[in-house]
């Protein structure tokens, strides 16, 4: 085999291979999604985070504005300490309401932000004042059954 031809084919092979990696990275994986260029961190305390996961989305009005960066347990207050990174472009008022919601009936859980009316904005490192925990389906069902049972007792 001619040396030059060999080099050509191997070069072709390596180039096609790298093109495949590039295709996977850009078209399939979309490197840019989830890695906002400039972000700032906020923390929120929840009584119960349900099935929230690290890298889960943070949405406001349905638009993804950040990601869950870290989830920790606070042994002093027995609460979950969730750190989120928010895109630098978006600022939220001090009294923004953070709640854990579920996409669809059984979908993934995310943090929803409802902007308040305060003039002051949340700065990097601040904590959300008002939060609402995840709805735990078992608790809901338990409550419902309890109410039904007491209704039956009253009607008798």
């Amino acid at each position: 085999m001619n040396r030059k031809l060999l080099d050509l084919w191997v070069g072709f092979f390596v180039a096609v291979g790298f093109a495949a990696v590039l295709f996977l990275a850009l078209r399939v994986g979309n490197v840019s999604s989830g890695n906002f260029a400039e972000t700032y961190r906020l923390t929120a305390r929840f009584d119960n985070i349900g099935g929230l996961k690290v890298r889960g989305p943070v949405k406001s009005a349905g638009v993804v504005v950040g990601r869950v960066a870290e989830i920790r347990f606070d042994p002093q207050s027995y609460e979950a300490l969730v750190t989120v990174t928010i895109d630098e472009r978006y600022k939220f008022p001090k009294d923004t309401f953070a709640s854990i919601l579920t996409a669809g009936l059984l979908g993934e859980q995310y943090i929803g932000l409802d902007a308040g009316g305060d003039d002051k904005m949340l700065q990097a490192g601040d904590t959300f004042a008002k939060t609402q925990s995840a709805v735990v389906l078992e608790k809901l069902i338990g409550q419902f059954m309890f109410n039904k049972a007491s209704e039956n007792l009253e009607s008798k």
Binding site: V10, G17, A20, V21, L24, G34
Partner: protein
């Protein structure tokens, strides 16, 4: 009668011990062989065209089988995935299903299995025949180190080719899934790509897949060159070595895949 059973049991235990000892000895030999290859790699890289030649033979010439299998597997994934997903009314998630199964598992594993049977077996056959016809000994006589001249280039050729082939396999598989899912069945194109891009993580899924295929490349190439070098220098010996290359490579790939997966995707 009793002493007969006793000696029979002793014989069984001895046979077991001999098998374990032989296996350990081969494993030790293979490890020392691996270290020797690494030690002579610098010497072999000085004549880089040897390695480039091997990349041509094991990488470029495997392109057709890798691309065709990848395309077909992606298409089958598209059909089967659609069939199951549409029962739950979530056929838009087809892109996620195809891309995640390809980048995480099928791409690295199936392309490594194909590579082992296509390129690994031919490397073993080549080195084994060289040994049977005493070419390796002849090289040694001429003060040409056979590890640096013959073994190391084939090893590195396989290690370089494997991740590239796996990436190609995954990419063409995703394209196959797109062909069947979007073009043929008519899943919404925007949802197909956007859901895929939302769920496939570059580091977690794609980089881990490439790391997997690199590890498989090292394992398959090492097994192939070792079995060739270790072959009994007869026709039967070479044929047994080729058989062992394919079997051991497949077992090693699947076992390593389990280990790597449990490290990479734990707790997700």
């Amino acid at each position: 009668m009793r002493s007969g059973t006793f000696s029979c049991a002793i014989e069984l235990v001895r046979a077991l011990g001999r098998r374990v000892n032989d296996a350990l000895q081969t494993l030790g030999f293979a490890s020392r062989f691996f270290v020797t290859i690494l030690a002579y790699s610098g010497q072999s890289f000085r004549r880089l065209h040897l390695t480039i030649r091997e990349i041509y033979f094991s990488g470029f010439q495997s392109l057709v089988i890798i691309l065709v299998s990848g395309l077909f597997i992606g298409m089958v994934l598209g059909m089967q995935g659609y069939e199951t997903l549409q029962r739950y009314g979530s056929s838009e998630a087809l892109g996620v299903l195809v891309a995640l199964s390809l980048t995480r598992e099928l791409g690295p594993v199936v392309s490594a299995l194909l590579f082992a049977s296509r390129a690994g077996s031919s490397i073993t056959a080549e080195i084994g025949l060289m040994k049977a016809t005493e070419q390796l000994t002849a090289m040694d006589m001429m003060a040409v180190n056979p590890i640096a001249r013959v073994v190391a280039p084939r090893f590195w050729g396989g290690v370089v080719s494997m991740p590239l082939l796996a990436a190609l396999f995954s990419a063409i598989g995703v394209f196959g899934g797109y062909l069947v899912g979007v073009v043929l069945i008519g899943v919404d194109e925007g949802a197909f790509w956007s859901q895929m891009q939302g769920s496939v993580d570059f580091h977690l899924d794609i980089v881990n897949g490439i790391v997997k295929s690199f590890v498989f490349g090292v394992a398959v190439s090492l097994i192939a060159v070792f079995e060739g070098y270790d072959a009994v220098p007869t026709a039967e010996g070479v044929s047994a070595s080729i058989k062992r290359t394919v079997v051991y490579s497949a077992l090693a790939i699947l076992a390593l895949d389990l280990v790597l997966t449990s490290f990479m995707f734990r707790g997700i």
